[in-house]
Structures are given as C-alpha cells and as structure tokens.
Amino acid sequence: MSDVSNTLGGTPTKDGAFLSVRDLKVHFTTSDGIVKATDGLSFDLERGKTLGIVGESGSGKSVSSSAIMGLHRGTNAKLSGEILLDGVDLLHVSDEEMRKRRGRDVAMIFQDPLSAMHPYYTVGNQIMEAYQVHNDVTKREARKRAIEMLDRVGIPQPDRRVDDYPHQFSGGMRQRAMIAMGLINNPSLLIADEPTTALDVTVQAQILDLLQDLQRDFDAAIIIITHDLGVVAEMADDVLVMYAGRAVEYGPGKEILTHPEMPYTWGLLSSVPDLTASTEAKLIPIRGNPPSLLNPPPGCPFEPRCDHVAKVGGDLCKTVLPELTPARSGGNHTKRCHLENPDEVYEAEILPEIAPDLVED
C-alpha cells in the first residue's frame, strides 16, 4: 500500500480518514511563470486529532490551508488533487456548496486577530453574522448564541463586551473572539493559521489551552499552522514539516520531535531557543533562504542550504528530488532525504549541538 502512494509523492493512506488530502497542488500563474506554492501535498487527519504543519514563511502552509477552505476560488490559482472531507471532495463541489461549508464544516482562525476582524463592526455583529449565515435564526437568538460563545471562550462580561469594537479588545481577547467566531457553528475541522504568533507568550499558552479544551468538547479536527515547534510539541498529534511547497517529513509529533530524519527539521529544531538548556547550547539558524517557488532546483529543494550533502554519494541531492520514504525509525514516520543513515547522523552530529545534556543518557 505504501509503495503505491509513495510513487505518487504521498504518504501512506489510511482509508476513510475524516480529512484526507491527496496530492494537493496549488499553482499560481504569474507573469514570470508558474509559482508552485503547494506541490503534491498529502496528509490525513481524524476527528479529535491535531495536525501541526510547520515550515518557514513561504513554504506553502497557509496556501494549502486556504485551499481546504476553498479560498482560492475566483483567483488565478490552479488546484489539483483531492481534499476529501468526510468522503466529499471539496475541490469538486460547486462554489455555492463550498460557501455553505465554509464556516459550518470548516472554519479558520487567523494569525493577527486585529487585522482579521473588521474594524468598523462590533465583535458581536461579526460573530452573529457567522452564525446567521448558516442558521435560520432571529437576530436575538444569534446574539444570545454569540454571547454564549464569548462566555465559552472566556471573555469576561460577555453580554457587555459583545457590543465592543475589536480595537477595544486586547490581543488575547480578540483571538478568543476569533475562536468563538470560528467555533460558533460547531465545525468538524478547524484550521488555525499561526493563532498565537501575534500574541505574547503567556497569552499564547492560554489560547492553546483553550483550543485543546474546545477540541475535546466539540470533537473537532484541528490543523494548526505554525513555525513555532513549541506550539507543535504542545498541541500536535501528527506533524507535517513543509519546505518549498512539499512535505519533507511527516509522522507522529513525538517521533518527529525526538527522531527527526530530515536535515531541514534538524535546522528548525536547532533554531529553537531552549530556556532550560545550558548556556553552552548554541542557537543555530539555517543558513540561506528558501528557494524560489518559480524555479525550484531540480534536486532536493533543501540542497543549497543543507550541510549534509557531502554524505550522499555523487550529485544525487542536486539532481534527484528524494521521495517521501518511511523513516529508519519506522512507524508512520516518513521523510524526504537521500541520506542513508539520517538517524545516526542526527544522534552523532545534531543532538550534541542542540541538546548536549540529552546525549549523556
């Protein structure tokens, strides 16, 4: 089974997953050529589970999630592949059908809650609107429901704050209000696009807690897009590491964080500051910049920035795009790398650099 899907550039399929994305491609036609923002992405997600999508800016995280929301409709983006939500391919439903599903089946919360809320309408108005569009209710009922949701996400005095404008809310409260708006129709899938990036650290933790709480109550599947591995460690059951529009490593969160087998993931881990580590531990940024998605290199997209190219024979990294293959550590863990023994390289070279105290055990 896994062999077949691997030749498609996908990951092993689990039949009948709640959300199943298969070989998703999002290409934008520009005057300079085709930008392959997402190029053959596959993953699965069950209800009640959380998938963390990690990667640098421009790696295709947000573009892929917008594709699930159907937000590329009406633009010049070309989409192909399958997005199966409960068996229905969202890429092939009508615009009107997709509109009805947006906010009801699939909801999204955004990075910066200040710019993501309309500055001229009250928070309550915007939440009520999200409810009214999918439910045939009176204004009074919608308002009651909005107040309930605000209360549920922990806004104090919700019956009073419902009439405030977004600028009268603090950053954390705005994000809570966004979450209330996203969850008001009990969506089965919630996409959180860097939900805590614009918030300070203490508020971040509260928001993540809230999301986990609500996930338990609503049994929703959550996709959390982030570049913060701390968020991933706290939230995600599965992790998908994206680079240059492709999955470069995919598997259970714990696996990816403890036994990463792709140099890009190592780079991400090395650039995380660790408060508990000794001051000797270095913070190592990944050198260089992500490749242009307009003219991606023919081989491994990470090759120009990779420190381990020499360990692979010949110019394999430069010329051949590695397939997503099962990791050495087994499980459902897959990675896209030509290295023969990435697990040994990690143990020997990377771990001592980023967590010297772990090597002793």
């Binding site: 906010g103 999204m108 955004f110 710019s115």
Partner: protein, 330 residues
C-alpha cells in the same frame, strides 16, 4: 468625542478668522484702490476720492476696520458710499460699489442656484463614480476593468471647461435635448428647476465621477486585500455581503473624506458651469465682481465660500468619526 468636536470647531474658527482678516485687508492692501474702483478719475477728483476713503474708514488702522466689518456682519452698521449713507442691516457685507445695493441682498439670492448645482452634481458624482469603481474593482485585471478605467482617464484628461462647453453646445444648442438657459427656483416649480439643471449636473457629475471611479476602485481593491475580507469569506458569507457589507464599508471612509472637500468646493460656486449655463449663482457673481473691481462683493463671496468649505471639512471630520469607531474614543 466631545473634546474632538470642540478641538475641531476651534481650529475651523481659527481658519475662518484668518480668511476674514485677509478679506478685510483686501480693502487697504489689495491691488485695487477702493476709492478709485468706486469712482474713477475723470468722474471724481483726487480730493473727492480722498473724501471717499475717509467715508469708508480706510484711514483707520486695520484692526478697527476689521472690527467694523465684523460688527456689520453680526449686527449691521451704517455705511457711507459716495455721498449717501446706507443703513445696512445684519448680516451686513457692505454696499456694492457698482450697483449701490446691499451686497447681502444681492448674494442671498445667489445661494439657492449654487446649492442646487452643488447638491445635484454631488449626487451625480456619487451615483456614477462609486458604482463604476466598484464594478471595476470586482473585475480587476479583466478587459471590462481596463475599458472602464481607461475611459474615465479619457474623460478626466479633457479640460473641464471644454467638456462642459461641448456638452452645452451639442446637447443643449445643436440637438436641443436640454434647455439652454434659465434657472427656476425650486419652490416655484421643482420640475422646471430640475430640468434646467440636469445638464449642468451631468456635466459636473461625469467629469468628477471619473476621479471617484478610480478612487473607489483603488480603495475597494485595497479593502479586498484586507485580512478581514478573508475572514468574512471564510465564515461562508455570500459574495454580495462580503462586497457590500465588508469591503464597501471600509472603502467608503476615504471616499467620504474627499467627497466632503469636493462638495465644499462645489458649494463655493462653480464659475465655468454657472457661466456656460447662465446660472445666477455665487461663482458667476464673484466673477462679475472681480472684473468690475467691486470689492465688497468680492469680500462677501470669498468669505462665504471659505466659510462653506471650512464647514464642509468640519462635517467630514465629524462624519468620519461616526464612520470609524476607532476615531470615536479620542
């Protein structure tokens, strides 16, 4: 909010004060000598002109002249013009040098036509410009967008007076579709009033609407790129609601800002339009006064136009704070 209103009103009054000082100063420091303008050389001797200057209080220091003038506006005053003295009731803007009539009596009849032109033109500008801009914004990048915006540029690059003149010559004179002359008071006959003004409205409206079309397009496109539009879409709102409730609501704020200023300018009188269509408005009167060096009339029209423009700006600012809740708290 109250503090904002008070601050805004104070600054408006300061501007008005500066304009009024300049207006009074025209008498003493202006390029034309009031005594000569009133009674030129062969008719009046130099001694006679000196007597006129004295009668006009021109020998007084400027601040006394200013106080005199302002007192006149507020409570009326007595004015000497030539050999006679005139009882000038409030609001007194002086006596016309040429017609020896009260300037206010002359001007107050001019306000109606100018306001009529301004309101109609303002409505036309918005009714034509904003929908075209929205149409283009929703189809940005398409041929329809390019055609519409291209034609607004063509219209706008035609000099305004030429545009109005051509409209008048073809539509009123050659084809006789619209009446050529005449202004009818609204209270006399609303139908005739409107019919006589349709062409000026359309002419003024079309020329200015092209600017509003491009402006609306720009601010709608800007709004479409905002994060909250993506939020609105991701809630599953209908396209029409996203466009009209969310995008237009945001785009309307900058449109209101420039509209207030343009509308104020229209209220100050439109010289070309009034001249070509022979509408007895403020613009026409001030043009006449300038050619005749009729200083009191120039003063009055300048002051009134300035007051109207300043008032329009204040109204825009107050309206702005109604439109944008973020401004309200200050």
């Amino acid at each position: 909010m109250l503090g904002f209103v008070v601050r805004r009103l104070i600054s408006a009054l300061l501007v008005l004060f500066a304009v009024s000082v300049a207006v009074v100063a025209i008498f003493t420091y202006g390029p034309s000598d009031p005594a000569r303008a009133m009674c030129p050389e062969p008719k009046c001797s130099v001694q006679r002109q000196d007597a006129i200057r004295e009668a006009l209080n021109l020998d007084q220091p400027i601040h006394e002249q200013y106080i005199d003038y302002m007192t006149g506006i507020v409570s009326g005053r007595e004015i000497a013009a030539g050999t006679e003295a005139y009882e000038c009731d409030a609001p007194c803007f002086g006596v016309s040098f040429i017609y020896r009539t009260m300037v206010w009596d002359d001007i107050k009849d001019r306000i109606g036509p100018t306001v009529s032109v301004a309101i109609g033109a303002g409505v036309t500008i918005l009714l034509i410009g904003v929908p075209i801009g929205m149409f283009a914004a929703r189809r940005r990048g398409t041929m329809a967008d390019k055609a519409v915006i291209g034609s607004t540029l063509v219209i706008e690059s035609i000099p305004y007076y030429l545009f109005v003149l051509l409209a008048f010559l073809y539509l009123a004179v050659s084809f006789g579709i619209f009446p050529q002359k005449g202004y009818h008071s609204f209270t006399d006959s609303p139908v005739q009033w409107a019919w006589a003004l349709v062409l000026p409205w359309l002419a003024l409206g079309m020329v200015n609407a092209s600017k509003y079309a491009r402006f609306t397009r720009g601010s709608m496109i800007e709004a479409f790129n905002e994060d909250y539009i993506r939020t609105a879409k991701s809630k599953g709102l209908k396209e029409s609601k996203v466009v009209y409730k969310h995008a237009l609501r945001a785009a309307v704020v900058p449109i209101v800002t420039i509209f207030g200023i343009d509308f104020g300018a229209l209220l100050g009188g439109t010289i070309f339009t009034e001249k070509i269509f022979d509408i007895p408005g403020l613009g026409l009167r001030s043009l006449e006064a300038v050619t005749q060096s009729d200083l009191p009339v120039i003063q009055a029209t300048t002051l009134i136009s300035a007051a109207v423009v300043i008032a329009a700006n204040v109204v825009v600012d107050l309206f702005y704070s109604v439109l944008d809740p973020r401004v309200r708290v200050t």
